[in-house]
């Protein structure tokens, strides 16, 4: 079959060394675990030996109990669910708007001259400066949090998408012209796929900012969510709660980024780039 024969093409040299390569890959991935494991052992022993107070720095073993507790009561899943939903909604709104505005700014010099200076100015505002204003305007329920997350997700997606569109190869645009593509068709068939690599860079940094802004929003006014868990831990003097919340946030951030990364690899398999190592 033509499909299988072409699929082998780029990896023809590696096919024979398949087994040893798999071991190499495993070994390389295992290498990343060395430092965290050493740190965990150090952490546990430092607290057990009484060098650091267990009250301030609960050892990993105690954190496992806290996590199990939160899991058994189901509370942690409630917090994760609420936070994840906020990120999903806020990120979708922010990235969606960035796609529309970015396409307009990237494709039209006139729109760029009109809008880009304003966006550059707004981008310079530190994220936390929005919080009091959003609280004043939108109250303390969901809307200010989602707005803040959307603002956070908007700018990286917007900037990268505009850059991606403006860097599309003129020669490929001309190919679209030869085939009579204009307007929306030219955008979806030439500009969008050609700027997809940049767009994914933007989406991934937008997503990580969305998690950051989520915590900022939930730290200030929330009754549920991982940011609330952080505040709760601080107010009740439970460092274990704070650390558990931090770890869960890290895991969720990594998980959502891996999801985008997986999507990126699938959609951008056509790229002819240096970093095409097997993963």
């Amino acid at each position: 079959m033509s499909l299988s024969s072409t699929a082998i093409l780029p990896a023809s040299g590696e096919a024979s060394a398949g087994n040893s390569l798999r071991w190499q890959t495993l070994a390389r991935k295992g290498l990343g675990l060395v430092v965290p494991v050493i740190l965990l052992i150090l952490w546990e022993s430092v607290v057990r030996l009484g060098w650091v107070s267990a009250h301030l720095l609960p050892p990993p073993s105690e954190l496992m109990f806290t996590l199990a507790d939160l899991g058994q009561s189901g509370a942690i899943f409630g917090h994760i669910g609420v936070s994840a939903l906020r990120v999903v909604i806020g990120f979708s709104i922010g990235a969606g708007l960035a796609l529309i505005v970015g396409a307009a700014v990237g494709l039209s010099r006139c729109v760029e001259a009109l809008l880009d200076p304003t966006f550059q100015a707004i981008r310079a505002i530190p994220s936390l400066a929005w919080v009091p204003l959003l609280l004043l305007w939108l109250g303390i329920d969901e809307s200010p949090k989602i707005t803040l997350i959307a603002i956070g997700a908007f700018f990286p997606v917007y900037l990268n998408f505009v850059a991606g569109i403006q860097n599309v190869d003129r020669k490929l645009v001309e190919v679209g012209g030869i085939y009579g593509l204009t307007g929306a068709k030219l955008i979806t068939r030439i500009f969008l796929p050609a700027s997809l690599p940049n767009l994914f860079t933007g989406l991934r940094s937008g997503l990580s900012l969305a998690w950051m802004f989520l915590v900022a929003a939930e730290l200030i006014a929330a009754t549920k969510g991982l940011g609330y868990l952080l505040t709760d831990g601080r107010e009740t003097g439970r460092a274990d709660l704070v650390i558990v919340a931090i770890i869960v946030l890290a895991l969720l951030g990594k998980l959502s980024d891996s999801l985008l990364c997986w999507l990126e690899r699938r959609l951008l398999a056509w790229r002819d780039v240096f970093d095409s190592r097997p993963s």
């Binding site: 072409t6 190919v175 030869i178 085939y179 050609a194 398999a269 002819d272």
Partner: protein, 272 residues
């Protein structure tokens, strides 16, 4: 007599204050292979862009099948100097690009890919192709819309000499099979003589026609045919501003061969 497929009369074309084309006129009949040869900056590629409808800012009249050139004309296909395959589409999807997303599944895509010898690469991405293979895919894409007139802008200048010869023969066989008319811009004097029925030679500053050579040899042609070498020498002479030595076309070598020794020119390079 049938009407010409292409009638071109560009009075003037200016880039800002720069006068690029001055009074260029020629026409091409159905089924002919015509080359445009000239030094860099003589406006050859600009003429192709005008015919393709990519450039509408000129004075004069251009008619393809009696109609003004426009983008996305069914009658005109374009093959660029580089393959310009869209890297995010498979080879088959590139060839069938005209039909949209499902274009790669059209039966003609696979016929064309078989013709250019890429049947096994239908589902490959352009990054997996060599330069010559990519240009073959681009030829298949140019022919997919079944244009009456195929425009080629130095289509083989980016491939090695051996690949170039194979691509030239491939182009001739495919276009005669599809009864396509060719207008090709080239820098290669030998290529123009080998491929064309007529060679339009242009001069620069401003771009104008300095003469036309009728090659008039039957196909398939032998690359070492002395007559072909003489045509190439004539073309080169015209390019250099001299007088053509044998504008009279004849199948009889004695009549058209001049007294000069045949010139063996490999690839004439106009780059400054």
């Amino acid at each position: 007599m049938s009407k010409s497929l292409l009638e071109l009369a560009v009075k003037a074309k200016d880039f800002q204050t720069h006068h690029v084309i001055d009074n260029v006129e020629f026409s091409i009949d159905q089924g002919q292979v015509v080359s445009l040869v000239g030094p860099s900056g003589c406006g050859k590629s600009t003429l192709l862009r005008i015919i393709a409808g990519l450039d509408a800012d000129y004075q004069g009249e251009v008619r393809v099948k009696g109609e003004k050139p426009r983008l996305h004309s069914r009658d005109v296909g374009f093959i660029f100097q580089e393959p310009r395959l869209l890297p995010w589409l498979t080879v088959a999807e590139n060839v069938g690009f005209d039909l949209g997303r499902a274009g790669g599944k059209h039966p003609r895509v696979h016929e064309l890919l078989a013709e250019v010898g890429l049947a096994d690469f239908a589902n490959a991405y352009p990054k997996q192709l060599s330069g010559g293979m990519a240009q073959r895919a681009a030829i298949a894409r140019g022919l997919f819309t079944q244009p009456a007139l195929l425009l080629l802008d130095e289509p083989f200048s980016a491939v090695d000499a051996f690949t170039r010869m194979r691509l030239q023969d491939l182009l001739l066989s495919i276009t005669s099979h599809h009864d396509t008319t060719l207008l090709m811009v080239t820098h290669d004097v030998n290529e123009s003589a080998y491929l064309s029925d007529r060679v339009v030679v242009m001069a620069s500053r401003p771009g104008r026609i300095s003469g036309e050579i009728e090659v008039g040899l039957p196909r398939p042609r032998d690359r070492h045919n002395p007559q072909l070498t003489h045509r190439a020498a004539d073309i080169l002479n015209l390019l250099n501003g001299g007088q053509p030595e044998s504008l009279v076309v004849s199948e009889n070598p004695e009549q058209s061969v001049s007294s000069r020794e045949p010139l063996f020119i490999s690839r004439f390079n106009f780059a400054h």
